[in-house]
Subunit: 419 residues, 2 copies
Amino acid sequence: MSDLIYKAKKVKEASKKLMNLSENEKNKALSCISQKILEKMDFILQENQKDMENAISKGIKGALLDRLKLTEDRIKQICKGIEDVIKLPDPVGEVISMWKRPNGLVIGQKRVPIGAIGIIYEARPNVTVDAAVLCLKAGNSVLLRGGSEAINSNIALVKTMKEGLIEAGIEEGSIEIVEDTSRETAVAMMKLNEYLDLLIPRGGANLIKTVVQNATVPVIETGVGNCHVFVDESADFEMAKRIVVNAKTQRPGVCNAAEKLIVHKNIAESFLPMIVKELMSKGVEIRGCSKTVEICKQNGIEVKEATEDDWYTEYLDLIMGVKVVDSVEEAIEHINKYGSKHSEAIVTRDYFNAQKFLDYVDAAAVYVNASTRFTDGFEFGFGAEIGISTQKLHARGPMGLKELTTIKYIIYGSGQVRE
Amino acid sequence: MSDLIYKAKKVKEASKKLMNLSENEKNKALSCISQKILEKMDFILQENQKDMENAISKGIKGALLDRLKLTEDRIKQICKGIEDVIKLPDPVGEVISMWKRPNGLVIGQKRVPIGAIGIIYEARPNVTVDAAVLCLKAGNSVLLRGGSEAINSNIALVKTMKEGLIEAGIEEGSIEIVEDTSRETAVAMMKLNEYLDLLIPRGGANLIKTVVQNATVPVIETGVGNCHVFVDESADFEMAKRIVVNAKTQRPGVCNAAEKLIVHKNIAESFLPMIVKELMSKGVEIRGCSKTVEICKQNGIEVKEATEDDWYTEYLDLIMGVKVVDSVEEAIEHINKYGSKHSEAIVTRDYFNAQKFLDYVDAAAVYVNASTRFTDGFEFGFGAEIGISTQKLHARGPMGLKELTTIKYIIYGSGQVRE
């Protein structure tokens, strides 16, 4: 715990120095970080090997184990990511607008760093570098708290990044990692209002929930995606099939993958058996509403019935809930009730239904005739992403460098006082 | 408590209807509200009288009692405020930017209401109408929780506003008030993530702190202002005097009034006695650092010594802490340590010190050669104000209608899927 406070203080102090660094200074630091990581490749791989061995001995395997693993290629990929961030324009210092008041005061709205940012995340060690580098480019210091599985890799990466900072002549306290991965320390970190300006949790629904419930530091919720594709009665069946299959199966483990399919009743008998067969042929387990189960049965397809819980669930797996609705209004109501306000899509030829869906679905990203899989900082053209916000304050949807800044009013006077 | 949940649900439901109202529909509702308040003047005054009698019997007097009091003139003023909000442009629906991606997806960033907003505030009944009207104009529903002293006035005002809503054909659940003013119910309201999208506390430091400590609903902190004026060695003395006196005395009970004066050591012996005498002649009590006390003593002025606590305190009264510093850097450090990140001013002729102050002071509004008293939605030209944010997420400084909105990505596709 004393380690937490010590580091939080260092991060806060460093944030004051970072606030006004030039773009050149920050890019130099990023470049030094990238070089150091390449230089210290063997050390990082060796520390990662410890995490891998611990994980294997705990019985972790498959995708989870793979997420933890670093290789020479993966580390090169991480450094390639840093080079990409270097190329992005620095958002800090932009004066978004400036106006003159009748009394002669000149008021400007200037983009400035947020300050000290806490990131609480789960297994993948690449997040350690990604998050630190994005925070740094936007002039923020960062206090990282990764999962216990990756702790040796994370400590090694932070140690290496610090060497890069020192080489660039930047405060090494700009990047710190909490080495104690206990839950108590994580909860204590969530209450460090004195030192942290913002907390971003990155991970599964339980992590996000824990942070929202415990944090007194302002939080940006990210990532939980219970996303829907609604196929309207006027949809082009081929397009609908392509979009549903892509949204569900192209990468089922990510937050912008679709978890639910909603089908208009007027096309259910023709469209449903086709899409369900197609999804099943791709290995997708279907959980249907009673109508879906019935229609499938009539077509000789056995489908499991969905429970109330299913409609709320983000599977992150090859499972899809399927529901038949009477109207676009019912689809919207269902989505607003059960969805996680992430990404929602309608497939339709109808102008008014498209507009209604865009206007009334309450989510970060609402699509007409496209896959939900595009909700992503890179796909949106931001060049980077620290997470996808599913809440409404400060940032919504993919968060790039701009979302890691705030504004400050700068006011130029010539002796004005208030009458 | 069941009343709280019942009303929170109503507010959430209403927010869905408000989301897509046209500007004309919202303005009509505001107009009906204003008319109803004028019509029901006697009823409102009579309910206010009950609050006044209760307050007097509890020994409340002076400024606090005056804040509670409604008069025919004050109610007319409230309605004038509504007319002003009607004239403001509706921020909702603006597409801030729209771009086309290489794959043909057209991505737009559209301004939308936040949803259901909770406002927790203290005594003044005019906030009940102000807050409700601003939320409504920006397409949000509102759950109000005012102080117990004004409960009869608040209930009467909300009842009257609801009559206006009904006349305009708008969901009456758009404006609700929590009638139980117990602390337990307030704390329960702070955890209603299911129904509230945002919580704005308006009031003293203790209220804000309670909300930050207890809320799980996202909060925008407002209002606490421990503001400083730094008089640099190169300052024009006359200008400095005018600004310090204005910032301290023009309206000492508000958050953008200055609480602290910082003076460069090189001018302390000449400037300090002059400004201290001037402030004292206006009834200001001075609490100085040891140097201030000493210099004043040499000039035959008795000044109380400030404690460490003083530097953190927002007096909201005719009291001013005074500190002598060695440099602009020390002034900035002091402000960043003890300030509340509200409004900070430097009086200087020096270009580099002005820029340094603007760059390194971490506050919502940073002034060169002007009084801190200008941090205000009206003075900034926003035409309205729901509060002044002293935190960094979502909104910073005076919050107008725009700050009561969020964005939503709307994406127009033609069948795109992710490769």
